[in-house]
Symmetry: C2
Subunit: 291 residues, 2 copies
């Protein structure tokens, strides 16, 4: 759904008290000075923009969207991108434009290790779907403290040393990290230089995870064979941005996983009901850690 259609506007509120603000990427300042606010419920999974807006009341509980349909959509996009990178379907598309009939070698999925950065709800769903297809999956989480139960075929790694070790064995990197001060710019030259030549990068999280110049340099050096990018520093991606025309970049319009209004409405209703009846709120953001 278009993000701003759901944002509250100050004029509509006309000074009445507001218990719950249900927001999807509202313009900065939208939530300042709302009287009586007891819950900010995001319709997006990523709350980095809300956290960056200093006018959002800091003492009001903030809940992320955790929507099973959105998690599944994210896993679908990650799986599609991995299959396309593994089986060379992006190269075939380029060959088609030149009317070039050129089958290339076929690897088995168990020969294509995939590294999933981020092991929250979306990372877990993605890792599970990839493992079901036979990919050897490593799921990396920065924080060693809260690692979810392991899934069949998924190896969980935590901490920086484990990340650097995993990169050298990786054919496809999928970024599903939350954007925090710890993860901003993580997809940089230093990380990319650890990958084997020709690896694939799939960024489905936030544009600010990438150092765009480093990604471009890694593509041009051949370190990266192909990048699938759904998110960018500036969105919509400006029409003159070189990613649009790079032969080994697939640009998606921030569409890897959209909130599904049907299931998201139920998630919101449950939290509103919890607020009304005094039960614990779900999916609360820990502001200090940023997600």
């Amino acid at each position: 759904m278009p993000a701003h259609h759901l944002a509250l506007t100050r004029a509509e509120l006309a000074g009445d008290p507001v218990d719950v603000a249900i927001v999807a990427n509202p313009p900065p300042g939208s939530l300042a000075d709302l009287r009586g606010l007891r819950l900010i419920q995001s319709l997006w999974a990523g709350v980095d923009r809300l956290l960056a807006d200093a006018t959002v009341p800091q003492q009001v509980p903030l809940a992320r969207m955790v929507d099973s349909a959105m998690n599944q959509a994210m896993a679908e996009t990650a799986l599609w991108a991995t299959l396309a990178l593994h089986r060379g379907f992006f190269r075939y598309a380029a060959n088609q434009r030149a009317a070039q009939w050129l089958p290339h070698d076929q690897r088995r999925s168990d020969e294509v290790p995939v590294l999933v950065l981020g092991y929250g709800q979306m990372g877990q769903m993605t890792a599970k779907r990839l493992a079901q297809q036979g990919y050897p999956v490593t799921a990396w989480r920065r924080d060693a403290g809260q690692v979810p139960a392991s899934l069949p075929g998924v190896q969980v790694a935590t901490g920086e040393a484990a990340l650097l070790a995993a990169l050298a064995q990786t054919q496809v990197v999928i970024n599903l990290l939350p954007l925090t001060s710890e993860t901003r710019g993580i997809l940089c030259a230093q990380l990319l230089s650890r990958l084997p030549t020709g690896a694939g990068l799939v960024n489905l999280a936030r544009g600010a995870h990438m150092v765009e110049a480093d990604v471009m340099a890694a593509l041009d050096s051949g370190r990266l064979g192909h990048a699938v990018l759904d998110v960018f520093a500036t969105e919509p991606l400006p029409t003159d941005h070189p990613f649009w025309r790079h032969p080994r970049v697939t640009v998606l319009p921030h569409a890897a996983a959209m909130t599904d209004a049907r299931s998201a409405a139920q998630v919101v209703a449950r939290n509103v009901d919890a607020l009304a009846t005094g039960r614990p709120l779900a999916h609360l953001v820990a502001r200090y850690r940023g997600y």
Copy 2:
């Protein structure tokens, strides 16, 4: 692997007796007059060309390749194509060429019914993988006599009436049928006209399953939203063929599933050993039915 590299040549044989001919799409006539031949082992899953070659000795057992790596590769290609059709990734690729940022609506996988034509080894693996992703799958088999055990989430249909009924409910049709006199030209105007507007067609079996002019007409009328075609009447697809340049056709160079030399060699070795030790041969073709 390139097909003809594995074909025996008459010159190499120099008149010696030959027990087993291990062949991958050999030129017609290659197997005529081999003395002592006791088994023809195909390295391809589809044996329609061998059956069409009247010089292939009719009394010699003919075995198809049934290779788990090839089955898995086929399921990967089918899943990739289905995900791309379902989530609009082909449209996004077209939009990228115009630097157009245009997210579109997102459906859940359980809203995208998929029809798999053919329910042999490849059809079963494909149906299973699609059902794991939440797609409602109907697997259709012409012959009601030999239906394999059903899989979770997969509805099996047989016979022509069931096919026509299933088509009306289908968003994506995947063809994995063997090419026989019964299935030649099955992807024709009559079948395509049963599909809902904008459905996707994925032909991974044989070019002769398609009436090319009918597929092109269905694309141009909008009946078909997109076609993913791996196989063609003439291969390599001639450079002036309109499929190469159609904006809603994805051309693959007969690469949906290649024989994997490692696992295929074991399949062949088992059959050669069975021949030597008098055990039953596996994956024999019933010439009367064509697969």
